[in-house]
Structure formats: C-alpha cells, structure tokens
Amino acid sequence: MTHNTFEPTIIGFTCNWCSYRAADLAGTARMKYAPNVRLIRMMCSGRLDPTFVLRALSEGADGVMITGCHPGECHYIEQNYKALRRYLLLKRVLKGMGIEPERVKLVWASAAEGAKFAAETTAFVEEIRKLGPLSWGKDEGGGMKDEIKNGDSSLTIHAERSSFEKEVAA
C-alpha cells in the first residue's frame, strides 16, 4: 500500500448459516477477492443491531457489508426480513448524517454461493474506493481530535473494542 492509494476498510457482518459459509467456501475454493473486508460472524443477520454499523463507521470503517440468507430461507424463519427493514431505515438515517447510503450494503448469499460472495465483496470494495475515505470525525473536526487526545472515556475505543467484539459474537 503506497501513500497515495486509498485502501478501504470494510467491516462485514456475516450470518453463521449462509454467508459466513459462503465466505468459507470462497476460501477453500481458492477464489480471489479483495482483502479489505474484516468479517464478523453473527448467528443471524437479524442479530445485526444498527449500533454495530454506526460504531464501525464512527471508528474508522469506510463501508459496512451486511450479509444474510436469501429471503424466505432464514435459519430463524424470518429474521433476515428484520435485517432488511433495519437496513432500509438505517440508510435513511445515514443520509441525514451526510454519509453516502451506499457505504452500507446488504447482500444475500447462501452457503453455496462462494463465488457470489467473492464477487459482491470485490464490487463493494471498488464502490467504496470510488467514494473515498470516510474518516469519520478524524480529519474533519478540530474539536473531535481534541477529544481523542484528551482520552475521553467515551472515545477510548480500543480498550472497549474487545468487549464489543465479544458482544457481537454472543
């Protein structure tokens, strides 16, 4: 990575029953896709609290990918529809905050769709690359920088991060 090349940081939330296995399949089949995505496995896309997305974006992610089972195929019957509805409302909120709604993407991928998962990931990374870095609250706000320097408890993110990840995994 050279100084002038922007490599997007993507957080991907995957469903244990489908898209996580799709990613697994993509890996075992030696398919190539952009390495920018950090996957976090959840039991279901319905577990996705929009807080996770907001926190990812506010702490350095340039985009968030949410993946789940195809409509009608949810392991927990209909939770992926909840994910869909949250996603649609969340995009409206992000727009109001000046964040391109395209920075959050919802993808349906079954456990057999390794190729689709790989292709969608690569396409998303390219989309985010075009949008540029988000750098939320880091490059843009003088006051925000001060806060981070002062070690404000609400912003000491790294110490809290491990517990956050545990929470997501639970």
Partner: protein
C-alpha cells in the same frame, strides 16, 4: 460551615432551572443545607469569583446545558476543577438535546440563518465578530464551535441526570439523597451512574395495552382520529420513542395522549439511542418486500428528527459530516 452548591447553564433554554424551582418547598432544603455560591440565573456572581475559589471547594455542581462555544467550555473546565461532584444535569448536558440538532448544519449556515433570512432585517449585512474595538478597549464575545458537545466530551462527569427537563420529583429525590450523604446517612451511587431515573424503558411505565405489533403505516398523531386512549401508540402506527427511552418520567406523554419523544435519553444498556429506535421501528413493520417497506418508512418523513431529537450530539456519529467540515 455548610457545603457549597453551584448551578450553571451553558447552551440550554433555562427549563432545567425552572424544573429545580418546581421542586417547590424542597428548594428551601437546598438553601438550609447548602451555601449557594454560584448560580447565574438566581443570583449575581462573577466568573472571577469562581476562579478565586479553592479547587474542589464546591461540593455539588449541577451543570445544565451543552458546550456550544468557548465560554461554555471554559466554565465547564473551571467548574470541574472547583467541584467535588459534577452532575451533567438535564438532556443538554447529558446528550446535547434540542440544541444538538444544530449539529446537522455547518456553523456558518446557522449564523447565516440567524442573521440573514426572511425573519431578520439585516440590510447592512452585520454579522457578529468574536472581537471588536471600541474606544474603551477590545470587546469579546464567545466563539461558536463547529459542533455542539455534551458535557462529558469536554470534562470528566461524575453523574448524569437526564430529562428535558428532569422531572421535579426526581430532582427532589436526588436533593434528598445528597443531603443524606452530607449528613453521613447515605452513600453516593458509583461514579458515572445515571441518577434520577428508572431502570427500564418508558414502555414499562406506560399503562397502555400492548399486543403483537404489525404496522402497515406510520402516521403522525394529528392525522389519526380518534387515537385509542388505551392502546399502545406504536401499535396504532404512531412512531413512539418509548422502547428506547429511559424510564423515570412516569410515561407522562403517553399518559397525556401524546407519543414519547425521548427526552429522558437512552435506556440503560443502549449505546446509541437512534440505533435502538431503528431496531424497534423496523421490527414492528409488517412487510417483507423492499418497495412496501420503503412506502411504510415514508411515514417517518424526518428520520433524524425522529430517532435523534434529543440525542444527536451524544450519538455515535455526533454530527452531520458537513458540520465537522465547516
């Protein structure tokens, strides 16, 4: 000698002060047990008087209002230094409240709206400056910051007391507690605690009947006639913020026939108020097709105002991107 008490208002409306006075005769207990050393809305005092006090000499400071300009920040830091217990008092100090909605706009736009729109006659285009020379010397007015911040983004806060304003019965209970602590009859809650609240959501205090919710349409309360007085408002399609909002107000608004707008801030365990509401509203929508879901969501015409009315500055994102850039 009586312990010292201070109360300050930064970027706020003054409603918190009125809520304190609304404790009626309880205010006399404050006077009987405390020496009020600084309270700009109630008594004359100068900042230099506070600056001259010993560090940590004020036992209890109730700080209401958020940090909008450099004067607010200066006094917040000053009072932190002089106070043993600093309470973020009211929604503005806790999470930004209504003034925090200004974080949706660049500060230049805010000033422009105030000084140069249809409601303001400003033919000479006079805008405020932070300093100005007059024959008597140089005058200063506080400088607006890019974004408004809650108190704990600027200084360390001991306790949080939410509400817009905090309910008077909750203030009275907190005053009673502090007096007991002073007399050695009670102990303070752990640092960082939210005080003067219930430990659940507004829904738990709301007497309206709740069933399984299936929303086919969101509507404004004034567009529904008649509103069922006994049924959950969210169930009737009115976006009610109760599910995400901390209890403590005795569900005043739903009791009075209006939806909860969230002035008591996030309930315990809620990291981002708006995210919790997104979850709550999305869960009750009865649709699976994207187009149909979008149609139903159109019933919430101002999503930010709906889910972050009191909480924007205290949310994870804090402000619109354009406000940071300004």
């Amino acid at each position: 000698m009586k312990p010292k008490f201070a109360m300050y208002w930064a970027a706020s409306c003054g409603g918190c002060e009125i809520a304190v006075l609304n404790t009626h005769e309880k205010i006399l207990d404050v006077d009987a047990n405390f020496d009020v050393v600084f309270w700009p809305v109630a008594m004359d005092a100068k900042y230099k008087d506070v600056e001259a006090m010993e560090d940590g000499s004020i036992l209890l400071t109730l700080f209401n209002g958020s940090i909008r300009n450099d004067e607010n920040e200066h006094i917040a830091k000053l009072l932190r230094q002089k106070s043993k217990i600093l309470v973020a008092f009211g929604s503005c100090a806790c999470e930004g409240c209504i003034p925090g909605l200004a974080n949706l706009s660049p500060v230049g736009d805010i000033v422009h709206t105030a000084f140069n729109t249809l409601t303001t006659d400003n033919p000479h285009q006079i805008y405020p400056r932070t300093s100005f020379d007059v024959p008597e010397g140089e005058l200063h007015i506080p400088k607006l910051e890019k974004v408004l911040r809650p108190l704990d983004h600027v200084v360390d806060v001991d306790y949080y007391m939410p509400g817009c304003p905090p309910e008077s019965h909750q203030i009275a209970a907190v005053i009673d507690l502090v007096i007991k602590v002073v007399k050695g009859e009670a102990e303070l809650p752990p640092k960082g605690a939210t005080i003067g609240v219930g430990n659940s959501t507004v829904c738990d205090e709301c007497p309206r009947a709740r069933n399984v919710k299936t929303i086919r349409e969101f509507k404004r309360i004034q567009d529904i006639a008649p509103v069922d007085p006994n049924l959950c408002l969210l169930e009737q399609g009115i976006p009610c913020n109760g599910p995400a909002t901390c209890s403590g107000c005795n569900a005043r608004c739903p009791n009075a026939g209006a939806q909860c707008i969230g002035c008591y801030g996030p309930a315990q365990g809620v990291m981002d108020y708006g995210a919790r509401l997104i979850t709550a509203f999305s869960s009750v929508i009865d649709a699976t097709e994207p187009q149909e879901i979008e149609r139903i969501l159109d019933g919430i015409p101002d999503p930010i105002g709906q889910v972050y009315r009191f909480n924007l500055a205290g949310s994870l994102l804090k402000a619109n991107r354009n406000a940071f850039k300004s």
